[in-house]
């Protein structure tokens, strides 16, 4: 199809993948739970968001496109909730005990 659409898709893909990479690096390198959680949420929402955006122009029909958007929204909702909960739980866990390292 049109070169512009393809180029946009690939660019958006790259950005999405880059966010995932950054997220996992953050998860690996950041010093404490809360910083890591921060990295995680970014990767979750933005990475999947950009990949969804990249796939949208290529979607065969509206049904598939809307499903893609729905998946993204659902993941965002779940990720936001879960990260909040994990953050609070981690606070609590730190209070209770500090598990030994690896």
């Amino acid at each position: 199809m049109s070169v512009i659409v393809t180029a946009t898709t690939i660019l958006l893909l790259l950005i999405g993948v880059a966010f995932f990479l950054a997220g996992s690096m953050g998860l690996l390198r950041f010093p404490d739970v809360h910083a890591r959680l921060h990295a995680l949420t970014k990767a979750d929402n933005l990475g999947l968001g950009f990949i969804t955006l990249a796939l949208l122009p290529q979607a065969a029909d509206v049904w598939i496109a809307s499903k893609l958007v729905m998946i993204w929204l659902l993941t965002m909702l779940a990720a936001a909730t879960v990260s909040q909960l994990i953050a609070r739980s981690a606070l609590h866990e730190e209070d209770v005990k500090q598990e030994p390292g690896p």
Partner: protein, 93 residues
């Protein structure tokens, strides 16, 4: 185009491999759970990326994963509370 999707998906697989390290190292359970969370999201992204190569049914798998990906984490935060059935928000007040 499909090739590009699969390359991207392959890179995502590798990012998952990276977050396995976090799951293995911990140190807290929250850290390990976060690794699972990122892996689930990456799984959703990978499914979305490889679905154009097959049937649209594959998007439904992504949908189910997106829906249920958070369940384990919810079970975890519930179980991590004092009586195992509470809400971390109750306890942080």
């Amino acid at each position: 185009m499909i090739e590009a999707y699969f390359f991207a998906a392959t890179v995502l697989l590798m990012t998952v491999a990276v977050c396995l390290v976090r799951v293995l190292r911990g140190p807290t359970r929250a850290d390990r759970m976060m690794g699972a969370q990122l892996a689930a999201t990456a799984g959703v992204a990978i499914l979305a990326l490889i679905s154009p190569a097959g049937s649209p049914a594959m998007l439904d798998v992504a949908l189910v994963l997106a829906l249920l990906g958070a369940f384990a984490a919810v079970a975890f935060v519930k179980a991590a509370t004092i009586d195992g059935a509470g809400d971390p928000e109750e306890e942080s007040q």
